[in-house]
């Protein structure tokens, strides 16, 4: 999940979610970064409305959502 967290930090700070930035954040956290995972994440997030996904998460408690589903 650390790759996703890294993307979310960039999203909050308004920095571009690209390979360099994600790799930079993860390396600063001591992660042995896998380039292909970063590439896949960046490509996948291109089609994800991150703010919307985050807002939805906020509306439903993480644990509770499971019960509702």
């Amino acid at each position: 999940m650390e790759y996703v967290y890294a993307a979310l930090i960039l999203n909050e700070t308004g920095e571009e979610i690209n390979e360099d930035n994600i790799t930079g954040v993860l390396e600063a956290a001591g992660v042995d970064v896998e380039e292909s995972r970063v590439k896949a994440l960046v490509a996948a997030l291109e089609d994800v409305d991150i703010d919307e996904a985050v807002a939805e998460a906020a509306a439903v408690p993480a644990g509770g959502a499971a019960a509702g589903g």
């Binding site: 999940m1 490509a43 996948a44 089609d47 998460a57």
Partner: protein, 297 residues
């Protein structure tokens, strides 16, 4: 360049040597090189696709032997792509992320009709629904090719999704006619990526076919987890401050009600609670004589 590859190139006629050299230059100028299947794409459509991809992505078509030579000449791992050079293929070069390349190519595919004699690239399904065709012999043709069809309310209807041909089977004349009549275009025509070699790593299409929904779920889960941590560890952020306030209020209310604290803020709730309790207890009393009229069943 390997000695073997060099020897082979030396024996080529001049124009082929130039073509190989040009292909090598292309291969070396991109981070990612892929092999795409271009079988069945009319040349005019291929030109349009090439134009659409440019300039982020370059498509090269050449003789397969020359493509193989060029890949072998560059070496450095990219020569492993030669196993995918068969049939009608092209090389594709891009500095885009290979996952993005795959996505772009998939998105550019367009539906196309399938002809009699062609092999089904995927299961062919005639979907449930009104065909819009007036009652007539067509209902028999549908049933003939294996679709569940009958006449209902003045037109021919397919009553359930019907798989009329499985992947790899050959399309019959009858089926081609039926599909054409229904306007079903079961083929996806476009550049079909067979493999990509990107910065030292070989990717199959399966590797590149990312599940965007799963990533979206991960984003939501990560955000929810962070919220949970922020609230549960009482580390207020702009996004969770109101939740923490609500939680603290709820806690105070819970304590207040359980302890029956005589606070003006709780008076309503305490009265309601007492009323609910007395009703709950009254509900356990099955002797109507013991209860006031309003509560007797």
């Amino acid at each position: 360049m390997s000695a073997e590859a060099e020897r082979k190139t030396e024996n080529l006629p001049e124009w082929k040597r130039e073509e190989v050299a040009d292909l090598v230059e292309t291969i070396e100028s991109y981070d990612s090189i892929g092999v795409v299947n271009i079988a069945g794409i009319p040349s005019r459509q291929l030109q349009a696709m090439r134009a659409d991809l440019w300039p982020s992505t370059e498509l090269r078509v050449s003789r397969n032997t020359l493509l193989v030579r060029a890949l072998e000449e560059v070496d450095e791992g990219v020569e492993d792509l030669t196993e995918h050079i068969a049939g009608q293929v092209g090389l594709i070069g891009t500095n885009d992320n290979p996952f993005t390349l795959y996505k772009t190519l998939e998105a550019s595919k367009t539906p196309a009709p399938i002809n009699a004699g062609e092999v089904a690239p995927n299961d062919i399904v005639i979907p449930e629904g009104d065909t819009g065709v007036d009652p007539g012999p067509f209902v028999g043709e549908l049933q003939q090719v294996g679709a569940q069809a009958r006449i209902m309310e003045g037109s021919i209807k397919v009553t359930e999704d019907s798989t009329v041909l499985s992947t790899g089977e050959e399309v019959s004349d009858d089926l081609a006619n039926v599909l054409s009549e229904l306007g079903i275009e079961p083929k996806e025509v476009g550049l079909d990526l067979r493999a990509v070699f990107s910065e030292g790593v070989m990717f199959d299409p399966e590797d590149l076919d990312i599940d965007v929904d799963a990533y979206r779920d991960d984003v939501a889960a990560a955000a929810a987890g962070a919220r949970n941590l922020s609230v549960n560890a009482v580390y207020p952020t702009a996004q969770t401050a109101s939740t923490l306030l609500a939680k603290a209020t709820g806690e105070a209310k819970s304590v207040g009600l359980q302890a029956a604290i005589e606070s003006p803020d709780l008076a309503d709730d305490l009265v309601a609670k007492a009323d609910a309790q007395v009703r709950a207890l009254a509900a356990q009393v099955d002797d109507p004589e013991a209860l006031p009229e309003g509560l007797q069943d």
